[in-house]
């Protein structure tokens, strides 16, 4: 069989410290505490404890660094000494260093961050903002591509953004006005394909793009939507119910 190349065998000592092992896996050299999203740890060496954010001893840490009740059940704190391997769906994994900065990223794609950073919910549903100084690790479907505003990005291809103002919604009027576009906007046939709606970035900063987001964070998005239902009254809920019913009927016909 050709070529008989043997893979690199890593040990607890030779695994990279706070660096990528491959393009798809990151190794945290833990000595203290890191926040990590559940289900993103594939293996570890050493003496590491995992604790829910709700567990009592973490109250002070959570109060200082984790300001997202919506996502708190998805996160834990890894505590102790050892090497912790992170990976996510075979996606590309990258680490980012913030120096007194801010970066907003798709919630489902954030794997872990140091307590030097504070986590907050973004104004844009499904996104989280990291503020402060420290390192975090995030996954992307395909390598990350950095672009500068002005640019319009398909919501599914948006991984995050740094330093620039939050995006605005952009609707392609001519596309919407077309026969098919009109049918889509009225009945939502076939869902959205992305060509009629983008996120519009302006100003100074950097936008992070990925190839696409697939189902992976539908759960996060749903939870975001559910979280917003709380502010609706009875009439609002009825109207929403009506809209969803009409959309479901259209999907069935499609």
């Amino acid at each position: 069989m050709t070529p008989p190349t043997s893979p690199t065998v890593y040990s607890a000592a030779t695994l990279p410290a706070n660096d990528n092992v491959t393009a798809y896996a990151f190794c945290v050299d833990l000595d203290g505490q890191w926040f990590a999203q559940k289900g993103k740890m594939i293996a570890y060496y050493g003496d590491i404890r995992f604790q829910a954010l709700s567990s009592g001893p973490l109250d002070a840490l959570v109060a200082a660094n984790f300001h997202s009740p919506l996502y708190s059940q998805d996160w834990i704190v890894a505590q102790g000494r050892g090497k912790l391997l992170l990976a996510d769906r075979g996606f590309d994994v990258n680490s980012y260093d913030l120096d007194d900065g801010n970066l907003t990223i798709r919630a489902g794609n954030l794997l872990a961050f140091e307590p030097g950073l504070e986590l907050k919910q973004s104004i844009i549903p499904g996104f989280l903002t990291l503020i402060g100084t420290g390192r975090f690790v995030a996954a992307s479907n395909g390598p990350v591509h950095f672009v500068e505003p002005p640019i319009r990005v398909d919501p599914q291809a948006l991984l995050g953004w740094a330093d620039c103002p939050s995006p605005a919604h952009h609707y392609d009027h001519s596309y919407m006005r077309g026969v098919i576009g009109a049918a889509r906007s009225m009945f939502g046939i076939g869902g959205t394909s992305g060509e009629e709606h983008q996120f519009d970035f302006t100003g100074q900063g950097t936008v992070l793009m990925q190839s696409s987001e697939v189902v992976a964070d539908e759960d996060a998005l749903l939870r975001d939507l559910e979280g917003q239902i709380g502010v609706l009254g009875v009439s609002g809920l009825q109207r929403l119910h009506h809209t969803i019913g009409r959309r479901l009927a259209a999907e069935r016909q499609d």
């Binding site: 098919i180 992305g194 190839s211």
Partner: protein, 217 residues
């Protein structure tokens, strides 16, 4: 004007300008800069007759016409993107749903696979679940294909025919005859085969594009 530029293995940037219009698969635009317009298209540059032919053929993937001035990034669902350049009247044979984007200057056609390789061609379509029709692109210009996993380009020469799993076949170009062969005895075809019962044999002079997966798009 620069051509198609692969940004990552899963993203391609395409310049748009006067005389540089493209057709792309709908839902595959990732981002754009400049003044770019997208219009749904059911004819994909083939005219009504072509569209009807495509509809009959079942090769009906929704496309859109992209015009204006700027640049557009395309990609889809994390699939790999491969850019193919055509020149000198070359023809590329490819399943419509694997076409991510192509220059509007390329002539688009639909071909009944039975025209090539006789009855074998017909079976090939049936076996690989691709229908009996395939899309052809002819002329001078660029296109980009979607594959599950990175694509492998295998040259075919008269001395070196290549056999391909119909499920892993993506596209081909050049003067190639394709025909379906069996590499196992008939006994093995009944019931518990090895999974390699049918193979697509490509003979002639050209290139075949193969993906490392049996997954359709």
């Amino acid at each position: 004007m620069p051509g198609y530029q692969s940004i990552t293995s899963k993203m391609v940037r395409v310049p748009i300008g006067p005389g540089q219009e493209v057709y792309s698969r709908r839902g595959a635009m990732l981002a754009y800069t400049g003044r770019v317009h997208f219009a749904p298209s059911t004819t994909a540059g083939q005219g009504i007759a072509g569209a009807l032919g495509r509809a009959v053929a079942g090769e009906r993937t929704e496309m859109m016409h992209v015009t204006g001035q700027g640049s557009v990034m395309f990609g889809k669902a994390g699939l790999h993107v491969t850019v193919v350049e055509l020149s000198g009247g070359d023809t590329l044979y490819v399943e419509a749903d694997r076409l991510l984007v192509h220059d509007a200057s390329l002539r688009v056609g639909t071909m009944f696979l039975g025209e090539q390789g006789g009855i074998g061609g017909v079976i090939r379509g049936a076996v690989s679940g691709q229908g009996l029709f395939t899309t052809t692109l002819t002329g001078d210009g660029s296109c980009a294909l979607l594959t599950h996993g990175g694509v492998m380009e295998m040259p075919v020469t008269p001395q070196r025919p290549v056999h391909v799993d119909p499920q892993a076949y993506v596209a081909h170009r050049g003067r190639l005859q394709n025909k379906l062969t069996t590499a196992v005895g008939l006994r093995d075809l009944i019931g518990r085969g090895s999974g390699e019962a049918f193979q697509l044999q490509l003979v002639g002079d050209g290139v075949v594009y193969v993906q490392p997966s049996e997954r359709k798009i």
